[in-house]
Amino acid sequence: MPDDPYLNTLLMSALAVIFIIITSLGLGALARFIAKLSGSSKLRQADAFTGYLFASPWIVGFIIFVLIPLFTSLYWSFTDYRIPNHPDWVGFENYAKLILGDSGFRASLVNTLFLTVIGLPLQVGVALLLAVLLNQKMRGERIFRMSFYLPVVLGFNAAVLLCWRLMLAAGNGIINQVIRALSAKSILFSYLNRAIIYVVEVVNAFFLGITNQNFTLFNKVLEAGFPAANRVPMWVQTPLWSKMSVVILIVWGCGTMMLIFLAGLNNIPKELHEAAEVDGAGGWARFWRISFPLITPYIFYNLIVGMIAALQIFEPIYVLYRDSATLAPSAFSMVYYLWMATFRFNEIGYGSAISWLILIIILIVTLFQFRAQNRWVNYELY
């Protein structure tokens, strides 16, 4: 192998292409041979060859990068495998340790719960609000739509996320400076700001209490009472606010959800609204009686996708909290914890167990939501 890393990769890529071509031809020939054995016509034999020839990059990739890893990691999750040691069978030890004794894993579960219960409704709500506003059919819709979607394209780049670290700085970050300026100008805003701070800190102290199994902080926050007039949010400064900063980021990135709602609103037959308007229903009533019930399938879809995404949030946590040993656990997702716990000491066995727990949780969530949807999701007219 050449020492130059770029040449090395180019050479490896060429080898990979040759490997793909050979396996494709091989798989195609095998399919044709089997078709011949089972007595298919010449045409069907040719189709079998072509089909497997073209599909085999995915088939081979699926076997190498999905199927085999899935099952080897299932095996390793029952071992104490740590590179470069040999894996030894330990039974359910990894899983027991994760569920009963690992405070980091418990923190990641609680954080995911927080994002699902507090962040996701906010994100879905904002996405729905923007979609309803955009659906009013007026000039410039495309520009608005573009600016609402832009954060999705940019928002997962660590470089752009660093800007949030600048804006969220508790001391002279722009967000807190604006809050201070507005609080000084308007007594109403000041009270609103302090009320929000109070609620956020109480809720977060409660969730931190679950994580630490110790509610002293929660009691302290309650005792401290209503925040003083000069208080501002401590965004990326304390564990009481670290999760809220992530919530702000996911609300900012609600563009995909908004587009899906927009598609849902577009699918509602115009006649329904027109008939209701003739009957004298106002905009508010028409939204809750017509639009809302008919877009429940889209809400439901966004909830599942959003919940699964909450398990996997990585870039925001890395950029905001990677250098803080106290803040990271108060906000990290399960995938972030997986990365941390596995690659610090190459703990393959333990990491495999975390991977499998993530997979199982996703499976349960998906199944549960699909069962629950029959109760409250309206699929009529679709």
Partner: protein, 282 residues
């Protein structure tokens, strides 16, 4: 149908006001990034609001553009994204062709299998894949973040392209067959030119994904010479600094964002449409 009275006009006004306000909020981080990149170090860390740089200057950009580490990271990101994108796009196009234009035994089963992999998050497979790449001796190289893409990485993308390919009339292939063309020619010369728009959409999604990828390079790339942009720029913020060099960091961020902006600007119409059609996650 619509009655234009005072209330509808006021309503429209409020609507525009709300939408403009929301757009400004959404775009604000971008504005702030650009604004900070033109500030002096003192202005960037000033304890009072300065919306625009009071004394705009290009120092940060000059500094970043003459920094060999940044340029190297830029080259690495370009190399990685270009190679991975080419391989992924071609293999996805081939697989989508098999799923839409050819009838082969087992097609439905394989297709169903492919759709069900959409449920498995890629991150749940990083641990065993790491072991595999370790055995191949690929740790510390670009290979683990590039080569898996060559195997038609991305079930959602295959699905999107398959839907478009399936809409092309069958007669086109058949008449080409009559003229003696083979499948490879039909795929490359007839079908692919007809799905240029979906291909562009997929290329955009893939490019954005590769350009923004952070976890992959963090796991596999150890030598700082091989850092890609997200990894390099993220570590410019150092908690041990008493004053963060914000103008420099933000200038790097702006330059990192430029390719994304260009791609998004040209492809935005297709992207938005394809999400509306397929409910795809970008």
């Amino acid at each position: 149908m619509r009655r234009y009275n005072v209330f509808t006009i006021i309503g429209r006004g409020i609507l525009y006001l709300l939408l403009t306000f929301a757009s400004l909020l959404m775009a604000f981080p971008l504005f702030w990034m650009i604004s900070t990149s033109f500030k002096t170090l003192e202005d960037a860390n000033a304890p009072f609001i300065q919306w625009l740089p009071p004394q705009p200057q290009l120092t940060a950009y000059l500094q970043v553009l003459s920094d060999p580490h940044f340029l190297r990271a830029y080259f690495n990101s370009t190399f990685y994204a270009a190679l991975a994108l080419t391989g992924t796009l071609i293999s996805i196009a081939a697989v989508a062709y098999a799923f839409s234009r050819v009838q082969w035994p087992g097609r439905n089963i394989v297709f169903f299998l492919m759709l069900s992999t959409m449920m498995i998050p890629a991150q749940a497979l990083i641990v065993p894949q790491y072991v595999f790449f370790n055995k191949l001796g690929w740790i510390g190289t670009f290979n683990p973040i590039i080569i898996p893409g060559f195997f038609a990485g991305g079930a959602a993308m295959i699905f999107l392209l398959r839907q478009s390919m399936a809409q092309i009339p069958k007669e086109l292939d058949e008449s080409a067959f009559m003229d003696g063309a083979n499948h490879l020619q039909i795929w490359w010369e007839i079908v692919l030119p007809l799905v240029k728009a979906p291909l562009a959409t997929i290329a955009t999604f893939l490019f954005v994904g590769y350009w923004n990828n952070l976890l992959g390079p963090l796991i596999y790339i150890q030598d700082s010479k091989l850092y890609t942009l997200p990894v390099y720029v993220a570590q410019l913020y150092n908690i041990n600094n008493t004053i963060q060099p914000w103008p420099t960091i933000m200038a790097s961020a702006v330059l990192t964002t430029v390719p994304l902006m260009i791609v998004f600007f040209f492809a935005q119409r297709y992207i938005l449409e394809s999400i509306l059609v397929s409910g795809l996650k970008g």
